[in-house]
Symmetry: C2
Subunit: 329 residues, 2 copies
């Protein structure tokens, strides 16, 4: 019995964003069908400010157990050690016998499976005639969101805003080169938000960035940045009359953007419309008219790693990519 | 930057039991010095009765983060899938930058580091003139305990007992062949226990096996079998007047043998004399006379995996064993 080893470079060419949209959708459906075990994740906070987390997911549908180790917040890594500031490793086990079938570099996985979230949500929550995307935050994840969104809709223009003008200018240049979509660099977050059919926030900010009064009716909001306690991107008033959708209600009310309006008493738990998987499964409606404001709050789930890493593994086997290694003779 | 891959066969010849006694002692000292982070472990219970656990440990002394995945309770694995009923995988990360330095087969690790526990405890808790070991339970872990014990004392005879006579006879044959120590197959658990200078229990039983009245003064007890809720090997009355030592008090009162007398009100938490690391560090006394009954309750800690796997890794580097693989170009 052999274990497949996959390098970062191999992983990068083994899966397309279109496929990731499929695997993330599969993950959401699995989660809302009760076919998933995801224990609380465990991690270590390092004395130098870095951290490493271990996320475990089991999906009875594919009989795969995944474990993803992800490190981050180590900005001095390239200078001091010649390694990236954040890295990842994924183990895949055959759940029937717990044999280790694959060890793959996991550096790209989180970016990909998070990138696909917004696109999956847009399929059921954005207006059919949505054409203008606003991006608050212009880093790597902002690019990933656009990359995925172009797979499910035609984007005519992007309004972007960032605290850092150089980052914003670089984003404009990169996006226009990669997708040929015009990017308007907004003078303020307000200017950008007011233009949005779809508003994507990826700032991982520590306070309210987007005011409720700026958001026009019919906007679909993809709230990515807030995935742990202490983070916030929105004026919680936005939630008062919006259709609120979570990836996992348990996670979002604990550490997502949804925590803030709940904590302030602006909404109750009953005001959360659905988990995205329930909508994808047809158990609950998505968008019901062109006026409602929809919010998809994504905190990220281990099962997204599971279905996405499994697809990478399956593609590797199919295309004979990777190196086999015999840990047990 | 390259990652070292180590196969099961390589691991088996990269470390001696004598070295494991050293690494387990190092782990206990580290734990009782506050140099260790060990988050609660996470696991998946499979529909077929199997399970897989993930244990994470960080030791600031060696700047290594270890993650051990261990599966078990899959007895049909050899027949159905041609793989062992239990397997393991260990990841080692450089804690300064979280780079994955090693992936090793972890099948042997738990057995080794658990095997060394009894010997480490005997150094500070057994009588200096102890010569007779009693083994209740005669499986793999019972053999490991003897293997380690012979490194720290001279065993003149072993009294052994097992529910299964064939298992007992096999144990006698194996131990006598490997160590040239006479093994007396006892007619009852009582007969065996009454002979003990050191009493080792490795049955993973589900109820009290050893009666308090059988244990003679001066005995050192190594309680290995009880490492999760629902397991028990001893009449809890044994704890009433014994010197009680735990690997981790937090773990032992939750799921070790120490849970049972606490639960029955036979002892209070204050009756627990020490963690073994405190004794090894000289913060608390070990055995103080030849009459006291000492109990070492071992539930197993991730940090034992950490120090032991790190020693295996260091030995591999030193002896140029293993295969390097570049996950990140």
């Amino acid at each position: 019995m052999k274990t497949l080893l996959l390098k970062k470079e191999e992983v990068s060419r083994l899966i397309s964003m279109k496929e990731v949209i499929g695997t993330v959708e599969e993950a959401y459906r699995a989660f809302s069908s009760g076919q998933v075990a995801q224990p609380p994740y465990i991690g270590i906070h390092l004395p130098n400010g870095g951290e490493i987390d271990f996320k475990l997911g089991y999906f009875t549908g594919n009989e795969i157990i995944s474990m993803k180790a992800s490190s981050g917040a180590l900005p001095d890594n390239p200078r001091l050690y010649g390694v990236p500031s954040g890295m990842g490793t994924v183990l895949l086990f055959d759940a029937r016998n717990c044999f280790l079938i694959c060890v793959m570099d996991g550096s790209l996985l989180t970016g990909l499976r998070t990138g696909a979230c917004g696109a999956v949500s847009a399929k059921v929550l954005a207006r059919k005639n949505a054409r203008t995307v606003t991006s608050i935050g212009t880093g790597n994840q902002a690019r990933m969101q656009i990359r995925a969104m172009t797979e499910v809709m035609k984007i005519e223009q992007i309004h972007a805003w960032d605290h850092h003008p150089e980052t914003l200018a670089k984003y404009k240049a990169d996006i226009e080169a990669e997708f040929d979509i015009p990017v308007i660099m907004a003078g303020s977050a307000k200017d950008a938000v007011e233009q949005a059919d779809i508003l994507i926030t990826t700032t991982r900010g520590k306070g309210s960035l987007v005011d409720a009064s700026w958001v026009k009716p019919g906007t679909h909001i993809v709230a990515i940045g807030t995935d742990m306690k202490g983070k916030q991107e929105f004026d919680p008033e936005i939630f008062r009359n919006a259709k609120i959708v979570n990836d996992s209600i348990a996670q979002c009310i604990d550490k997502g953007e949804t925590f803030h309006p709940l904590n302030r008493g602006i909404i109750t738990r009953d005001d959360i419309h659905a988990e995205i998987g329930e909508i994808l499964l047809g158990k609950k409606p998505g968008r019901e008219n062109d006026e409602e404001i929809t919010i998809f709050d994504s905190t990220g789930m281990a099962i997204q790693d599971n279905t996405t890493a499994n697809k990478i593994y399956q593609n590797a086997i199919e295309n004979k990519v990777g190196t086999f290694f015999e840990f047990i003779a």
